[in-house]
Amino acid sequence: MITITIDGKKISFERPVTILDAARAAGIHIPTLCHHDILKPYGGCRLCLVEVEKVPKLQTACSQYVSDGMVVRTETEKVVDARRAVLEFLLINHPLDCPHCDKAGECELQDLAAKYGPAMGRFAEGKRRYPENLEDPLIVRNRERCILCLRCVRMCDDVQGASALSVTGRGSKSYIEPFSGGAYDCEYCGNCLAVCPVGAITSRTHRHGFRPWLMEKEVETVCSYCGVGCSLVLQVRNNSVVRSVPRSGLGLNRGLLCSKGRFGYDCLNYGDRLDAPLMRRNGVLERVTWTEAINCIADRMKEIKRENGSDAIAGIVSGRCTNEDAYVFQKFFRGAIGTNNIDSVAGMAYGPAQRFFEKILVQGVTANPIQGISDSDGIFVIGGDPTAINPVLGLQVRSASKKGVPVIVVGHPGGLKRYSKRAFIMNSAAETVFLAALVDEIKRRRPLPGERPVLEEIINGFRPAPLEDASKMSGFGPNDLVDTAHALSNMSRPSIIIGRDIVQTDTGHMNLLFLAALTYLLNGRIYLLSELPNEQGVLDMGCQPDMLPSGRPLTVETFRKRCEETLGIIIPPAPGLSYAEMTEAAHEGRIKALYVMGEDMVLGLPDSNYVRGALRNIEFLVVQDRFFTETAKYADVVLPALSWAEKEGSYTNLERRIQLTRKAVEGESIEEWKVISEISKTFGLHMGYRSAADIFSEIARVSQIYRELTLEGIADGKSVWPYRGGPLRYDMHTEGTKLPDIVSVMEESGMSGVHVRREAHLFHSQNASRYSPALLSITPEPHLKIGDILADRLSVKDGDRVKVSTDAGSIVLSARRDPCLPDNVVLASTFDGGGIFEITKWRVNPITKAPASDVNGVVIDKEEAITVLHKDRADSLVGG
């Protein structure tokens, strides 16, 4: 026990804490400047000086730890003088341009100078002058205002792990700079500008448009870009969101955000938001009233139902829809239309992966707290770069790695390059063989736990390829493989982080099996990366062709009957079509009407031309979205939607935490669920909800997973799996899990040419980021990452235009050389069209029903002429 006296108060601690923390515990305020709660103690600014008895010099409270019997004084004359002197020094060079500084009003230096500073400075020389640096599209640096507290550099190094900033020069010519000295070449998380205590690093997105004291309200909500679900505060003025900031005590992100959460909010204010329904008349989409649009949808759908049956109608929801919208959507389809043809983008990879792991391991096996990653003793990453897909989750991987936890990556390491022990990049067939070999090697080193006989039978039964063949195919030596297996075998509670590209490939079902085996053998915790904020939620809501909103399979009659009774609807007994199957059915003319809520199918599904063909074949297409998307171009009725900041609702994140999204601004439309209930009414199904909370309470009645929860109750963000306890009791079969024959993968794959894989991009997220000018300003168009050897062979330099072709089509992308890539794998991004999905041939895995996101045998040529991408984009946005 350590007992100290601060300003006469006695206080005890179990463990040593800093004097600053001790003072806070005693309710005593010590001013600080370089200190920040997210960062490690630093002791650079000397503002927090205090007197410690028996120590001749003043001590920095933020970095000095207490010891037993210490007597500290925080407000003596000596301390006050020192503080005043420190501020006088800081103000020597700091310009007094507060009237036009964006930080004014929330500037820590301003506040401190007002409270503790001298009335005037005695320094007679002039202040240093430098022009503001405006070379970067998003971040402004002002060297005059910088007080060199190094919060930004420490943030970028120690917390973000991007290490993109440093102090250059020395002495009075020390500056905070990114490498180029001008524009940033970094992850644009903006965490540096968030911790800058003064206006030395500021955001351009609200430059000179933001005065903290003029904010009308602040709304706590959840980010709508990815499945992490970071908490953020939207600051609102004149019914528009002017800034999005995290709060250090709020949510699982604890004061951090990524580029999308910080800067991507500007898609809310995007100029071409849809604000009225459109209806196609004589081939042209025209503005109509809501009544006309709803009547048209009702009439046409009824007509198609009458003529072609209910199963000629299908619905797709986006993983960006709230639980409430998704729930009402599936209820409408099941209860009013009479079909189970409902699915979402989660049905392509996240859903099948989760279902498989739950079936073979245990229910809820993917519901693991993100914060747990940094406590694991090993990390295995496959199928996607967590620092790009779920950036704030990715930080956990980096923080583990910094503690010395081994990180092994299969796939491009991306943002984990400096944080991984090994990264194995290869084509997708080789990955399967590689995984099989790993499992085989591990099972020789680790005994089978004996808990799941079915799985153990599988683990014992499959035939791996000979080690030499696996190593030849993957391009890595047998020793690499054995060493990796060895490293994995030494882990006792590793995190297994799985991205969707390991599922969306021809051998995806086998990959899932091997990953389950790996998890089982290593006692791992699975994290499924989720590219959209509510993939988990739309699955939970029953937006799946074979699952009820109760979280149970609809083919089991008792479950279906119970659901029907609770909801007062009739649910068809046969499962509907999956997302990929619907697309195929549309292509073949079996789906006549399709209702798409929030999803841009053309950009979101592999083989855009195939998808366009499918959309063209649909007789009646309804698109409900915020923007005039590529899919909306084919629509017969387009309904404007509200964004997540314009309505109440809930999202369920990848750790299965349910969080509340609050309304921050008024949108120019009507909640999706309201529109759907209106349509439903014309079918005789009255839903009668008045609010999102109403819907949620119905969900809580029907769902075994969400039972007894309320929208109010989840508002604290602490509702985590398994919520109210009880696991779902229904029989988990492993039927249909065929033993893979790895040798045949090698024989059939024929992957000898160049293989293109998808690169999920840090600054982009499907169809939302393309409406964010801020995010587009960082990376305006998709690119191709190409290894040095291949690039040299084709004489391709950075920035050269290359044409990438397959049987499905060709695209022209700008090349980026990447030293990590081998010569038979290239990466293409997908965001904003023009990416890999334009050239991926439509191939659906019969078991997972996931369309493949990669393609083999591409031809890459250097383009001599400059081709303009997206030439029709501007037209399409205004409504062509």
């Binding site: 991007a162 290490s163 993109a164 900033l165 440093s166 102090v167 250059t168 490498f179 400096r418 030293p819």
Partner: protein
């Protein structure tokens, strides 16, 4: 930048010598400066890549030290001292000579890239003031008369 194998060999040698790659940073920067006369952004990026250190960190370190140059330099670097001892002994007047003969001013390079001039605060040769370093050679007891003769030996 075409990196000759010599530097790469020497860096690999460094990596063997030191426990971690960060410790190789300063010597690696030296090698590049020695080979190319200055540290271009490309050189800094190369060092970062070879040593797997963030490039911003490399820049932070290299710009801290006065002995690294971040601008292209002439073939020969004149480091002329104008600190107290050299100033008293006429070091500042030598500046005019350099300007008159080569058009050379502090922190600049002659158009033919023959010489670059840097003013130093003491090079530890006060006993022979005024003094200068040309590349790594020390020349003391400079006069307005002999300085050109000395410099003419550097092509």
């Amino acid at each position: 930048m075409a990196l000759d194998n010599k530097i790469l060999d020497e860096i690999n040698e460094l990596k063997r010598k030191y426990e971690d790659e960060r410790s190789c940073l300063l010597p690696a920067l030296y090698l590049f400066q020695r080979e190319y006369g200055w540290l271009s952004p490309e050189a800094l990026e190369r060092v970062a890549e070879i040593l797997n250190i963030p490039k911003a960190t490399v820049k932070g370190v290299s710009t801290f030290y006065a002995m690294f140059s971040h601008k292209p330099m002439g073939r020969h670097l004149i480091q002329l001292c104008t600190n107290v001892a050299c100033m008293i002994m006429g070091g500042e007047r030598l500046l005019d000579i350099l300007k008159g003969r080569y058009g050379l001013e502090p922190n600049l390079t002659t158009p033919d890239r023959r010489f670059s001039l840097v003013i130093m605060e003491c090079i530890g040769a006060c006993d022979t003031a005024p003094a200068m370093l040309v590349d790594t050679d020390l020349h003391g007891n400079l006069t307005e008369e002999n300085i050109i003769g000395i410099l003419e030996r550097y092509e």
